[in-house]
Structure formats: structure tokens, C-alpha cells
Amino acid sequence: MKGWHGRLLWVDLTRGEARSVEYPKEWALNFMGGRGLAARILWEHMPAGADPLGPDNLLIFAVGPLTGLPLPSSGKLVVAAKSPLTGGYGDGNIGSMAAVHLRRAGFDAIVVRGRAEKPSMLVVRDQKADILPAEHLWGLDTWAAERRLREDYGRNAGVLLIGPAGERLVRFATVISQEGRSGGRPGMGAVMGSKRLKAVVIVGTGDFNLHDQREVAKLGSAAYRDVKRSKGYSFWMRQGTMMTVDWAQENSVLPAYNFREGVFEGFKGIDGYRMEELKVTQRGCPNCNMTCGNVVRDAEGELSELDYENVAMLGSNIGLDDLAKVAVLNRLADMYGLDTISLGGTLAFAAEASEEGLIDERIEWGDFDRFRDLIREVALRETELGNLLAEGTRRAAEKLGGDSIRYAMQVKGLEVSAYDCHAAPGMALAYATSPIGAHHKDAWVISWEVATDRFSYGPEKARRVIELQRVRGGLFESFVTCRFPWVELGLDLDYYIKLLRAATGVEYTWDDLYALADRVYALVRALWIRELGGWDRSLDMPPARWFREPISKGPLAGSRLDIEKFRGLLDAYYELRGWDERGVPRRSTLEKLGLGFTVETLDRLVGLTP
């Protein structure tokens, strides 16, 4: 089989064993890699109902047939597991040399189960894997630990690791690489910490096992050229995703004060032009010629890598209008190994809970010093409040009780990323149906939505969300490469199907790939149902705030979502996906997609609709 290695590195930390195992060819062909492969492995090998922070959970690092190849922005891998934040399927992608090295080492994924007795690290050198002590790294922040590892394993080694937040099982701890790359929003870092796995180091020197290497190189070279020729290229290289601050403000979708508003009076203090004034350099993932990591000098004189999401969530959403200070909060999150989006949502929750008298402590909007301290308290679970917030907003609200769930801006337990949806039903649907909870990566539909009819609840919105989910969440997460060349600079999608054929020799059609994407989505939904032991469509609803409390500022003041119309939109989404009115895939859909192996379990749990 070309294009894949057909092997997993299976690591059991309880037994202290690591071995290479083959996996079925059918999984590669029909689930591809990344998210698809991870979901298939979890279904097959993780015991149903496993404790997300227990030894039975599987932590998976997966690449795909396009990962690491000489084509734009291919240095990505997916990290997946059952999420300790949501209780369902969780994943994220991360740009890292580890992605390229994993392919060169000859594996399509690393699967980690069990729990080490003492802090450990996994070191993979081609086909050789060792589980080594890591007590000397435990407790170090991600930057310090990675620098130590690079001294030992070389400047170009692939390193994935957790910080103190992952060690302390903060439920939105992520996996970090290269001092600013972060992946696995729904607590993948906490899963790694629960296994006492501080770091994974990979050094691979083998080849990619491609069907037609020359054709891949030819296509990749043309694609790089097209990226650079894009009309938006020079501005992208100036601001990257930071241009979105102005864009979101203009369109009244910039979250402010815990998503109470969609505009922020201090937006000029945190926008892309302000970032250009502070910018020191630019970083990117391997194989990227449109590097998006804008590195600025923060208010404490340190370097911090910014993008839109972390700036909006740790800026406008907590009422902070000074980018140099936002950059400090962002840097601390990266060093502790925290997801900046959930962190911003959680800090905003705390500020609002304080304002409403639900917690005793006074936390003012925009209070940089207090938020700075609070990040440490969360990451280290130092104080009662820090420990509460380390559980994420849904659990924190459940513990606080009263009306506090109103202030938990989350879907399925994952905090909403940085687009306010009071006047964007399509984007609200994208959050509601994202396969990991309220994340934007699967269907960033808002740009299309504001350009068409943003107030419509028509079925065209459900169609568009699914189209984007297929390509962004289904395919790019399974290829595995970065979607930015396509979504930001308009690289022709046909490149990817040609590259896939050249890499694998399999004559995939778009029909095949969309089927594959639908298969992955349905399997992920099946995993959710299995792990939660049932399903209810309320799990696919956006936060109540967007329906109940209209925005009060800006040109769209007074806007809010209509709950009955939104339910109709969700119905349309389910129907297009071939899921029933509860949001459960129909038996016929599962069988048509080749997911017959899930039918018995799901039928027993929820009774499948024909």
C-alpha cells in the first residue's frame, strides 16, 4: 500500500511497552488518517465508557497521506482522545516538526494507553521507541522543557509536550510544540498528563512510501507558487489571521464581555495594525509558505505568538484593549499549556460570575493584573477559584449553581471560539454541530453568511455548514494538512485530490472524499452517543444567551437568535446528514456509509431509526 505505512506505534505505559502493529488497509482507504483514523481506532480499541483521565483512554497522534509532503502547509498532525472536558470525542490539530518526523519514522499514528508509574516521555527514532524517565522535566513549562529536549535530541527533532496545566489535569490543557503551537482544545493535554506522559520526541529519517513522488513534487511546487501569487498574499504575510479583529468588529461578531456584545470599543488597541507595531518576527509550521504565527514583544518584554482567536478571547472577550498585555496572557497560556480559547471563555465567565455576585471575589473586566494571576491559579489549580475554573465553564457553572450556567458560553462543554452569533444563525449552527463542541475549525461559515443573507434561517445555511464541515473538518483533518492555503488564499481544492492520487495511487473522486467525510462525521457522532450512553438534541444547541439576551451595542443592536427558527435549521441539518430528529444517524445512513459495525451498539443504546 502506497501513501500510508499501514502501521501504528502502540504504546502501553502501564506495561512500559511500545511496539509496531499493522492495522487494516480498509481503515486507511475509508478513514484516511488524522481524525478519521483516530475515530476508527477509538471505536475499536477504547472500552466504551472509559474514564477520559483513566488508563483506558487512548491518546492518539495521527498523520495522514498528505502530511509532511512538499506541499503547502503540510506539517500538521491530529491529537485525539476521549475528552475530559466534554466526555465525548475530542481532537485538535497542531503544526509541528513532529508531524513530519512521525511520517518519516514509518508510522501513521502513535496510540498511547495506560498510565506510567512515574513521569515519562516517549522517544521515537524511526522504528525504535523507548519509554524514558522524565522526572527532570515534570513541572517545567513547555518552553523550558522543549529547550531541554532539543539540547538532547537536536534542534530539528519533533517535540510534543504538556506544561504544568496538563500535569494537573486542567480540563482544557492542550499539547504544545515549538513555543506557541497548541493543539487539542478539549483537554488533550490533560489526557497526556493523566498518563504521566510529559513529552513525545520523534526523529524520523525514512521515506514517505509514495506512489508517485515526482508527481507529488510537481504538484506541490505549483501549489506553493499559486499560494504566493494570491491577491491576498502580501497582506496575509503582514497580519495573518490578525486581520480578523477589524473584520469581526465591522461585522458585529467580535466577542466582547463574555459574548454579551459583538463589538468592542477598544478594538483598535488589539487589531492587526496594532500587532504590526509590536511585531518582531513570524513563525510557522513545517512546509508552510504563508506562516501565520505573528510574534510580538509583549508588555513584559518577552516574545508571544499571536493569532486572532487568542487575541479576541483574551482581549475583547475579557474587556482588555491593550495588545501587549493580551500577548502576556497568551504567552502564559502557551507556557502552562492551556487552550487560549477556553481560557478566555473561562476568565470571562469568572468576571461575569463576579459581577453577578455568584462568586465572592471581585474580578473587573479588563483587569490585566488579576487575569494574569488567575491564569497561574487555573494552570496550577492553586486557589479555590483557580481549581474551579480549571474544570471549564460547564462544570464550574454546575458547581456554582444558581443561574450561572447562563454565563457558561459553551456547547457540549467546549467553550465557544471567537465569533459572536447573536446575528449569525449559520455560524451558531456550525458551533452547535461541530464534532468536538463549540469550535470554529470545522465550519467557519460566518464570512459566507454575512455576505449572503445573514438573518436567514433557510436550509441553504445547513447545506453550507455541511459543505464546509466536509472539506474543513472531514477532509483536511484526515489528509492531514492545514486548510489555510485554501480558506485564506484560495488555493484550488483540486490540488488536494490530485496530490492524494499521486501520493496513494488510489483514484479517489470527490464523491469518494465527501463520502469519507460524511463517514467520519457519523462515526464521531456514534462515538459521542456510545460514550455518553445516549443522545439528546439539546446537546446540539448553542448557548442560551444568544437567544435570550440581545446585543445592546453597534449597528445590529437588538439582534438575537430566534429559537424556533433555529430548531428548524437544526432539523434541516439533521435531514441533510441522514440523521433522525434527535441527531442520531439513521440505520440506513450508517449502513450506506459503511459503518455497519456501529449499528448494534447504537441500536441498543438509543434505538436506531430505520
Partner: protein
């Protein structure tokens, strides 16, 4: 006579020569597309337009005192990957 303020976001500001310009229009106003300056190879279909912060179309009328915002699509707003319209789950072959 009066002025319409035009704001350019993203790379459009590089082309227009500034982030914000003012354009003279008659009392009866003008069509939105007439007051914006776009690169020759950019179709209005590829852009987002607002008038006074509310969604607008290229053919809409703008009047003195209005603010027009014009911006590119970002992050997934590119033309739909419409190789297969979504009508039902795709078939199971690979």
C-alpha cells in the same frame, strides 16, 4: 453634494491606497459599487459589503453621510466547494 466614507479592510486597503477614503456623491447618492475602488481582477462576488455596519449588496444605493465597508472573505468564505451539492449523505465508496 456630500461625502460617503469608504473603509477598506485587509488587502483591499493596500490597493485602495488607504484604509479609509471619502468619496463625493450627489444628493441622490450613488450605487455602492460606484463609490468603491477595487482591484481589476477582483469580482464584487468575492467581497463582503456593509453600509453603516449592516449587510449590503453592490447595487444598493448609498447616500451622503453613509459609511461603506468593503472587505474580502476570510477563513472559509471562498466559493463553495460545490462539486457535489449536499442533498443526502454521500455514497459509501472509496
Amino acid at each position: 453634494m456630500g461625502r460617503v466614507r469608504v473603509r477598506y479592510l485587509g488587502y483591499l486597503a493596500e490597493y485602495a491606497g488607504g484604509r479609509e477614503v471619502e468619496v463625493e456623491v450627489g444628493e441622490s447618492g450613488a450605487r455602492l459599487i460606484e463609490v468603491v475602488r477595487l482591484p481589476p481582477d477582483v469580482s464584487p462576488d468575492d467581497l463582503v459589503f456593509l453600509v453603516n455596519g449592516r449587510p449590503a449588496k453592490p447595487g444598493d444605493r448609498v447616500r451622503p453621510g453613509d459609511t461603506v465597508s468593503v472587505m474580502p472573505h476570510i477563513s472559509g468564505g471562498a466559493p463553495a466547494p460545490s462539486y457535489i451539492p449536499v442533498a443526502a449523505p454521500a455514497r459509501a465508496t472509496a
